[in-house]
Amino acid sequence: MSGTISQPAESEGRAVDGAASQPQEITQKIQEEARRLLRDDKGDVVIGYCQAWDDEVVSPCFVTDGSQVGKLVFNEHCYHNLARYLVGCEGYLTSRFRTDEEAPRVALVSTPATLRTVVGLIQEHQFERDDLIVLGIVDGTPVGIEPDVTVGRIKVDRDEQERVSAELQRLEMMSVSERWDWWEGQFSKCIRCYACRQVCPFCYCEQCIAEENQPQWIDRSSSPQNNRSFHIIRACHLIGRCTDCGACDRACPMNIPLSLLYGKLAAEVQRAFGYVAGTDLEATPALVDVLASESGER
């Protein structure tokens, strides 16, 4: 499927032509769409990015009024997976605390990884496709949904993919005990802040296994072995679900290279089950209904 670029969707009878590729153009497109949606009362909130306390830092932001639309930006610092804000007990589409009956109409600025995440969340019944207006930024890689509006095209970050591959290869070259020591060093750094979990859209469980104490599968205190167990179990809970967006890696304050763990996971799932999360809305996620999909053994 490489080389195919998803066509911009027809929107309200008006074709959106020529999606942008420069950050400033994408920013403008996002602002235009946001303004239009809010002005025409087609949406209640636009979830996107805005500049934070520094040029190199963005914050997720939630625009509800046309006057705020100018805040919205898009640039290379937009790593957060905004689908995270749709789900969970206070999610925009799934909130347990809503006082009114209806969910707000949400428009979501979606990077390619976020688009794949949205596919997964629909597969997991958290909302339906029609519940969301997708302002998509595409990069030509396979995605299981069409954006409602394509607001930008970007290039796949091959550098990052190669960096992760090279690092994984380097680890593979090490002996088993060298690998153990290397990861022990990483897990010693973990402070169990759970930033990785909290930014992850698939960690929307209202009772995380890490918080359970009947039984307590994972001890809460920060020790290399407790931390290792936490990271192994979190990764295993994400098999076939994680879209390798990298938000966890970027969120970690202690620079633990979580991209290596989740990159490895995605690669193994593809190799063993022929499955890539988020590329096909009708597909059965790996390791779920195995009678319907390939067996996973070597």
């Binding site: 934070a52 830092v57 957060h80 402070i191 802040c193 930033a195 909290q198 205190s221 920060s222 202690m254």
Partner: protein, 334 residues
């Protein structure tokens, strides 16, 4: 002011001498302070370590006691106090040092925490003035400074050719006397230069927040909390990196033969923090965020006369959602 002068090129030699007599803790890398075995391990950079000094007084994981189970019998192995080996913390950031007198209100006030006290007693702090405060620093708004002395025993301020060494406490004086061969007397010229340097460093702290009347301006019942920080994901980064945050949990870790009771860091930001078996007073994000702000900028002030913040800015620098607490405070005030 009592002061000495330390020649620039003698600092590392002093460090190696200190290592012979003390457990020396210094910035080890961009992430944290740690014990060093030689002066070459000291890592000095513009950015402060991601973690503060908090863990050396209030560890993120501390064994309170151990217990052994033998059939029906339970045997308790009481707390063994931390080793009382004298420690020197070197090149501490003034904001990290300033956090300790604030933490003392909780761990060495009405309640005396034995291991915290032991660590405070056995540790001498030599701070190093920050020449390059970060964009996220706002210590000057909270009564601090890149060359602040609060909480330190000695403060090194880099001058044009030497380090100015301010002697702040008795303990600090005892150390400069013990290692007298490294230090010279200061004079008026050095003192004037020091004052100018401090003024210059204060100017470099560009982020400001007005705390005048802030405590009174914070209202629990205000509707503003509900829409203040929707981007916050309720992780514990801000609380764990903060030099003054001190919430903790107590857990038992063990197996049928016995185990240990552990005190570990916890965070008011976590969803389960106030969850009890019959109630959960803070089920929503806004209530937790309100608690964070109210605790730090109102309740602690009312209880102890001090703000539970030193303006180190780590919460801003490392928040995964890019939240700036000073911007939030400005909005809350209206």
């Amino acid at each position: 002011m009592e002061a000495r002068i330390l020649q620039r090129d003698r600092l590392l030699q002093l460090v190696d001498e200190l290592i012979k007599d003390y457990e020396v803790i210094a910035p080890r890398d961009e992430l944290s302070y740690g014990e060093i075995g030689s002066s070459s391990e000291v890592y000095l950079a513009e950015e402060k370590p991601v973690k503060s000094l908090k863990e050396f007084f209030f560890p993120d994981r501390e064994v309170l006691f151990e217990y052994l189970l033998r059939g029906e019998e339970v045997k308790l192995v009481p707390l063994s106090l931390p080793d009382d080996t004298a420690r020197v913390i070197l090149c501490a950031r003034p904001c990290d040092a300033a956090a300790l007198p604030i933490l003392d209100q909780v761990f060495a006030g009405d309640y005396l925490d034995p291991s915290y006290l032991q660590r405070r007693k056995s540790t001498l702090i030599i701070s190093l003035a920050c020449q390059h405060p970060a964009k996220t620093c706002f210590c000057t708004s909270l009564g601090g400074s890149p060359a602040g002395t609060e909480g330190s025993d000695l403060l090194l301020t880099p001058l044009s050719e030497v380090y100015h060494v301010q002697v702040i406490t008795e303990r600090g004086r005892a150390l400069v006397e013990k290692y007298g061969q490294f230090f010279q007397e200061s004079d008026e010229a050095w003192e004037r230069e020091r004052a100018l340097v401090e003024a210059e460093l204060r100017e470099r702290v560009t982020k400001r927040v007005d705390v005048e009347g802030l405590s009174e301006a914070l209202e629990f019942g205000s509707p503003i909390w509900e829409t203040l920080t929707p981007q916050c994901v309720d992780c514990g980064v801000c609380t764990f990196l903060c030099p003054t945050c001190h919430c903790f949990d107590i857990q038992d870790e063990g197996d049928p033969g016995g185990g240990a009771r552990i005190r570990l860091w916890d965070s008011c930001a976590f969803r389960e923090f106030t969850k009890m078996n019959v109630a959960q007073p803070r089920p929503t994000h806004f209530r937790r965020y309100r608690q964070r702000i109210m605790h730090k900028f109102r309740y602690y002030v009312e209880n102890f006369g001090k703000t539970l913040c030193v303006g180190c800015g780590r919460c801003i620098a490392h928040c995964p959602s890019g939240i700036d607490i000073t911007e939030v405070l400005n909005r809350v005030r209206g």
